[in-house]
Amino acid sequence: MNNVIFTIPGCARCKIVKDFMHEHATPFEEKNVREGGKEDFQHFYTANRRAIYRGQDGIEFPVFTDGVVIRQGLGPVLAYLYGGKRLDGFVSVGTLHKEWVDGLHVSGGNIEDADDFIAMLHYLKSKAMKLKLDTNGKNSHLLNRILDEGLADFVVMDVLGPRRLYSHILGENIALADLERTISIVPRFPEYRFQTTIVRVRREGDLTPAFLTPEDIAETAELIEEITGSKKHPYFIRFLPSTLEPGKSQDADSILPNAIFSYRTAARVHQVLTEIEKI
């Protein structure tokens, strides 16, 4: 199978991938989509449209294929070159530009593949990239290793909810010790934030899931305070557009726009810098 990499002129991220392939003696064919490779990419895109992500700023390059698998963007391509599909849980298409790389999920992959993930992060850092990683509390030992080896510039922790609901929201069991250790590590990175997205959760004894409440969020903020001993962390309460449906005051499945402030008020008892984020 031939490795093909579609690039655009002046693309630093494309160059990093090409350097890696050169360094590892991985043969590939480069097709510059603004020059000779334009027609080839049009054919490729037409045939694989659903596999290629097009964001607000257009298509992210590089786009890589080995004839079977398609990967797009610096992180996912590099992860595939390091470990094939084994690193898929750790890496996804990012949204950041210039020197920043995101889409790096500490909690998303299999811990047995952590060495390859760490190696990939080291490679990105060696190319002067800044790394933004996220975690939901799982794999605290991996996060600690990332901290020790200086591999993250920004860490976002999704604190999914209070302890009693955490596994329900995550959809799998999590060791609370793992969660608490992660919370304690996150503030030690150069930049960080805690955040909680208001989602529906089925509580024990309830037939239908219901949104996290201000009381749940207060408990979540308290959890962060309890573990870190500080009320002054950047903490964001996030609301999805579908969560807020103006005018549907009788609809139990939405939160009235004005009600979001009661979440912030509740959280600020334990995290004074809490802000609301509509996403």
Binding site: K232, P246, G247, N258, F261, S262, R264, T265, R268, V272, L273, I276
Partner: protein
């Protein structure tokens, strides 16, 4: 704005028969929240209480603030909003909007309030028959600050304006953020260009762009336009104005979107051209139901310098691009945009443009409609508060005697007139008329009286012409 070196302060003109008599409250520079009667007697001072602005409430209460944020780190942020009783006891306080840790300062919660607030029960914060503000409960709308970045406007840190609604218990139940609606304001590309480069950067806190500088915020309240089916003027909707942009806008309380606006470009329609450029305005509000002119927009159109636009000789970079060296108080029909009533240098009796700047406050200032149709005007930069009748007669004038030490002005941000009944602790005062002094004969001690010791006729000298003003042979043409 043209003052001699020596002039009287306190009340200088008072016609009790034509005034709407009551108490006047204002923030006296470096002194506190001061209440005066119609003769200028200082009947109450809440010493040191800040007021941006101060407002009286029925029962002898006043609203104000216990302190300001260190201006090294913030810009016009008040620590809190408090309600204080006649004896100085704080009976209500809100400060929990943002937790602030400024270098060298005690970490604390702050309201970051500035310029305005409204207590439930009354839409505008001044006396309206049958619309008394609540004193022992109810929600309060507060105009606040928040620092944020918005790449649509500029890559620089912005000092944004927010409006929050807080309960009597201090819970925030509604928030509106000005920059969220940037696309609705109708800025030209020229305006966006200079906004991006210089969103009115102020040095405080290491630099922040006070891009809108909202200086008033009030509720529309019940009004004839909504009663007639015009949803833009829903009684719960909020009107505010932005000094730096020359915008006056009404927002939908439910959606936050703009429903009505004036500016930022007053050349964009025939009606707006006829209205003329509103520049650096203050205290735009809808005259509440129950007062003469109800439903119209009353605003102190400062003039001075404001707005973002194309560079011009008066604004080489396009910031503060609109200029005018006199003020206007305008009452505007919000449907036709026609001026229903105005008080400008012309109505004040000053010849325009030669003497226009004698009615001119390029910043702060306000206008309050009184129940008898008079208008209380704060010509703020010179500390002058006046009451004028609908036909523009000056029936009360007060000049603040309080000059600041750091800011060497006797400025008055905004004064309010309240009925005697709102301060039951006091007996209504005696109202003593003050005749207007004839300044042609008024002399300070030691000055010679008017009158020539010798007059000499010169043969052949002709009497002067007395042409209509438009034919006056002055160096510039008269506005007539």
């Amino acid at each position: 704005m043209t003052y001699p070196s020596v002039y009287p302060t306190g009340v200088t003109i008072y016609n009790p028969e034509k005034c709407w008599n009551g108490y006047t409250v204002f923030q006296a520079e470096d002194v506190g929240a001061l209440v005066i009667d119609m003769n200028g007697a200082e009947v109450q001072l809440w010493k040191g209480l800040y007021g941006f602005p101060n407002k009286l409430l029925p029962g002898g209460y006043v609203l104000g603030h216990t302190g300001e944020r260190n201006p090294m780190y913030g810009m016009q942020d008040n620590l809190d909003l408090v309600q204080v009783d006649w004896e100085g006891n704080i009976v209500w306080r809100f400060n929990q909007y943002e937790y602030i840790e400024d270098p060298g300062e005690k970490p604390q919660w702050m309201a970051r309030q500035h310029h305005d607030y409204q207590r439930e029960g009354n839409p505008v914060g001044y006396y309206v028959p049958g619309m008394e503000p609540r004193v022992d409960g109810g929600n309060t709308l507060i105009l606040c600050h928040k620092n944020l970045k918005n790449p649509k406007i500029s890559d620089k840190l912005l000092l944004d304006d927010t409006i929050i609604e807080v309960t009597w218990q201090g819970d925030i139940v509604w928030e509106w953020i000005c920059s969220d609606h940037f696309d609705e304001y109708g800025f030209s590309e020229e305006a966006k260009n200079i906004l991006c480069r210089d969103p009115n950067m102020r040095p405080n806190g290491g630099g922040m762009g006070d891009w809108m500088h909202t200086n008033s915020m009030s509720v529309l309240g019940p009004n004839k336009w909504y009663d007639a089916g015009d949803e833009r003027f829903h009684p719960n909707n909020i009107i505010w104005d932005g000094r730096e942009t020359n915008i006056i806008a009404i927002i939908d309380k439910k959606t936050g979107k703009l429903t009505w606006k004036l500016g930022p470009d007053y050349n964009s329609s025939k009606e707006l051209k006829a209205l003329g450029w509103i520049i650096g305005q203050h205290h735009a509000h809808m005259i509440p139901r129950g007062l003469p002119g109800e439903g119209n927009i009353l605003v102190f159109d400062n003039g001075g310098w404001a707005g973002y636009g194309a560079p011009n000789p008066g604004s080489p970079k396009g910031i503060k691009s609109a200029l005018r060296d006199y003020s206007r108080v305008l009452e505007i029909d919000p449907i036709t945009l026609k001026i229903v009533w105005q008080y400008t240098p012309a109505e004040a009796g000053y010849m325009m443009p030669f003497d226009s700047n004698r009615f001119y406050s390029p910043f702060i200032s306000s206008a309050q409609r009184l129940p008898n149709g008079n208008t209380l005007i704060t010509e703020g930069s010179g500390g002058r508060i006046i009451e004028v009748t609908p036909d523009h007669e000056l029936v009360w004038e007060y000049i603040s005697p309080y000059w600041g030490k750091a800011i060497k002005l006797n400025m008055v941000y905004r004064a309010y007139r309240a009925p005697y009944s709102w301060i039951p602790q006091l007996d209504p005062p005696e109202e003593i008329p003050i005749e207007r002094i004839d300044v042609t004969t008024f002399r300070v001690p030691g000055a010679a009286p008017i009158g020539r010791k010798k007059e000499t006729r010169v043969e052949g000298v002709l009497p002067p012409y007395t042409p209509p003003p438009e034919y006056a042979a002055l160096c510039v043409a008269a506005d007539v």
